[in-house]
């Protein structure tokens, strides 16, 4: 199931993570890898410490960055899907539009 603006996501709290020079580094033993997140990705990772609707993430990012909504949807949605694929975050509510 794909990420939509209504989806509710949260990061996997079990994964050890730290911040190195403003970049979050997450270790996943299941994947046998660690994951380096750039600055904006680190901000999103921080937001996902508790369950967040994707729309809320967009709002927060647009308040702090010089970016329009189309760019946000184009850049952030596939990024969140990648984190789900890597099992770094999980979708706790698909958020079907009511």
């Amino acid at each position: 199931m794909g990420v939509t603006i209504h989806s509710v996501l949260v990061r996997d709290q079990e994964l050890p993570a730290t911040t190195v020079e403003g970049h979050a580094v997450v270790l996943s033993l299941d994947a046998g890898s660690y994951f380096d997140l750039n600055r904006v990705a680190t901000e999103i990772w921080g937001m996902l410490s508790k369950p967040r609707r994707v729309g809320e993430i967009f709002e927060s990012l647009s308040e702090q960055h010089d970016v329009d909504t189309e760019t946000l949807i184009r850049d952030v949605t596939p990024f969140l899907q990648t984190l789900i694929d890597y099992k770094l975050i999980r979708m706790i509510d698909a958020g079907k539009k009511r």
Partner: protein, 137 residues
Amino acid sequence: MPSGCDCVPLQASSALASRRGEYELVIARVTDCVILVGTRRAIWYQSCHAAADPIEKLDGLIVRRAAMEKIRAGRTNETQLRVWEPPIVTKIAIGAETKSARPNSDNFPEPPPPSSPGTKLGFSFEMAFPMAARTEK
């Protein structure tokens, strides 16, 4: 009703009269000080605010306003809107990073496996003479 001066006792009044010259001198010194302070304050005010010349005052206002606008603009960009960069996650395999980065590392021979426990001196000694046998009497 008598005035306040009429109520001053005679002795005090005479004492005041006798020291009148002294008091006048003190009053004159205080007056000089007040004038001096006023003059210095006026000089300081002119040097700081250029109040004497309206053109200078206007220039100062323009310069100060321009400087404040720059500061405000910088503060706004810095604290509210940051440059956007697409979020990126980079996956790095743990094994790939811990392996030697030498280009010809495959040419190096594999290190020999560890020797069997029997060939190690301490282990052989322990096998031949168990600790229990050595401590029992």
